[in-house]
Symmetry: C2
Subunit: 370 residues, 2 copies
């Protein structure tokens, strides 16, 4: 393992001092900001997410805000999904594509009002993309990165904790719906969301000077639920089949090759950027690759290091890329995620991956694992 | 210090195995790729750069390539500098601005031919920006990130080493000029450039599968010059006043506030993105802030940690941001870099910064320090 050199180029989060005080040991850089990845005990962090409640500093989920009379028009142009019926207070998981249909990002798009939207983004400078499209089209919309930093509260006990803090009405919030509120005057957007399948909420802090105050309030109220610090959990997200944009997919992937079929309206009216390219993909029979799970025949009880994508082969020929390998605590076996040629997936073929002890076989399965 | 969690989202460089073998201890993430920052002895790395020759894996300087009949038109539109007389084989340090004149990046633009250009970039996903502008304007140009990874050879002995490997003619290469060549069949662009003021070259490797081979050849040939591994050197670059885009400047800065006055042609014909905004800045009297050096009255012999930009004040009022503090080995004093209000710079005022022992005074000076 290497030490990371900090510098002003890499932004601290509003919760930074609290995460350090909580014992943060490992980080990564995401959207040029610090993302805590562990507090020193990955198994305890996993158990807390599956059985209890955890709090995660996910400030790195940066927002791009569109605000102005043309905000809706721009949001639709940037999104391969029909936004006609998107309601105020509702979010949707969407694909943003380039003009060739390649997936640039997979944010949650949140409609704050008819002329104010947030893209809650994965690791790419989408501010540049959105600003360029808006300016070149002469749209009347301000494209900015607002002072918004999400704190996720995740796990089966999250709802009780959030209801205690914000009121019983939050139990009625549907998935990806949200409400503008505050906690003792700290301005927030409270959304039922988060990068796990264990249930929970994200508190979109709207005042970066009050991060440690918010952290302390959640930690204090959560004490009776045995809340603890955590981070987006690599094992759980592989079990749940959640895409890590930029890691799981090759840069030339379209969203249909990233498990986003359900969330893309290829023939959507009105137009979106990449529509012609995605229509061409469908006209030619569908995506070339699919995002799938792999059951790996491995006697290695822990995930082997996978610093980069590695080939998936069939009879020695590359048929895909392996992007993640973990030992699933719940399934008690080694599983992975990757992109594999559709013809190979449809043939239900057994493929090979390269592990620490040489070639290992793997079977393909639909996601999620659990 | 924290450990960094590696994942496929963060790309390895073509020289990665060699840098690990050479004893790399510290890294950062830059353009979503690993940038080695130290091999465990920063002072030895500094001395090697100042007195000898060092080799740096700067693959993170990613290229955006414009190729096609409209490549020149796009390059000019993206660049706040007159490219009319840019020659094939020549590079220029340029500012790329958004429509409001804010500095998006400060690359070296290299003209490989009349219809092929590279932007050699700082830490921002400019591929998104360039692709959006090209597509929205309907330009006939392919915008891609090619398989190109620079290896820098820096220091006063670099020229002798490079001449030995490539021939005496390279001594005639002017600053930022380059030539397409190879080293024993390894395809390269050889450029007189690099992020130091100690002289040297960058070898733009054009085949990512041959990084370790290139590294070994440079290390072997450089042994007689006592070459060693290093990294862009924080102390030397502060002494030399080299801008670290994204760290030294606030996000709302225009290039005139980043020390780039000499490299910007505000009234350039033909047009570039941001021209009207920069003309407005000049019409209203010039930039509000300047990028300057600070001589810090400090008894702290080493730089204090500066994980983020901190305020520079005058009589308690913020007048700028401090972005870097180092102890200069050559000047034997503590120096810094920052942005300060032009009126304060012009008044030659003594300002205050916050150090580990409280408030310390600082005088302002033009860059570079050395």
């Amino acid at each position: 393992m290497f030490r990371i050199t900090m510098s002003p180029r890499i932004r601290m989060t509003p919760f930074h001092d609290s995460t350090v005080a909580a014992g943060m040991t490992d980080i990564t850089v995401y959207n040029k900001m610090v993302l805590p990845t562990s507090y020193g005990d990955l198994k305890a962090e996993y158990d807390r997410l599956i059985e209890g409640v955890a709090m995660w500093d996910v400030s790195v989920e940066r927002q791009v805000q569109l605000e102005g009379p043309d905000a809706h028009e721009l949001a639709q142009a940037l999104t391969a999904r029909d936004l006609t019926n998107l309601k105020e207070g509702q979010g949707k998981y969407v694909a943003m594509c380039d003009h060739d249909g390649r997936l640039l990002n997979d944010p949650v798009l949140m409609k704050l009002s008819g002329n104010r939207y947030w893209f809650s983004l994965a690791d790419n400078d989408m501010l540049l993309w959105c600003k360029a499209i808006a300016a070149e089209r002469g749209l009347e919309v301000a494209v900015t990165e607002p002072d918004v930093s999400p704190l996720a509260v995740q796990g089966p006990k999250a709802e009780d904790l959030i209801a205690e803090l914000f009121g019983e009405h939050i139990r009625d919030l549907k998935y990806f719906w949200f409400t503008e509120t505050d906690l003792d005057g700290i301005p927030l957007v409270l959304c039922r969301s988060g990068w796990s399948k264990q249930g929970g909420f994200e508190l979109f802090l709207q005042d970066g000077s009050r991060g440690d105050e918010l952290w302390a309030k959640i930690a204090d109220a959560g004490a009776k639920y045995d809340i603890g610090p955590g981070a987006p959990n690599h094992v759980e997200r592989v079990e749940s089949g959640l895409l890590s944009w930029g890691g799981d997919n090759t840069p030339d992937s379209n969203p249909l090759e990233c498990g986003m079929q359900r969330f893309v309206n290829v023939d959507c009216e009105p137009d979106y950027i990449g529509k012609a390219a995605l229509q061409q993909v469908m006209a030619s029979g569908g995506p070339e690759r699919l995002f799938v799970g792999l059951n790996i025949d491995s006697d290695v009880a822990n995930a082997w290091p996978l610093p980069g994508r590695t080939p998936i082969t069939l009879d020695g020929q590359q048929v895909g890329t392996l992007a993640a390998v973990v030992y699933s605590h719940r399934l008690e076996r080694t599983i992975g995620l990757g992109q594999v040629k559709r013809t190979v997936v449809e043939a239900d073929a057994t493929v090979e991956v390269q592990g620490p002890n040489g070639t290992q076989t793997a079977t393909i399965q639909q996601l999620p694992f659990i």
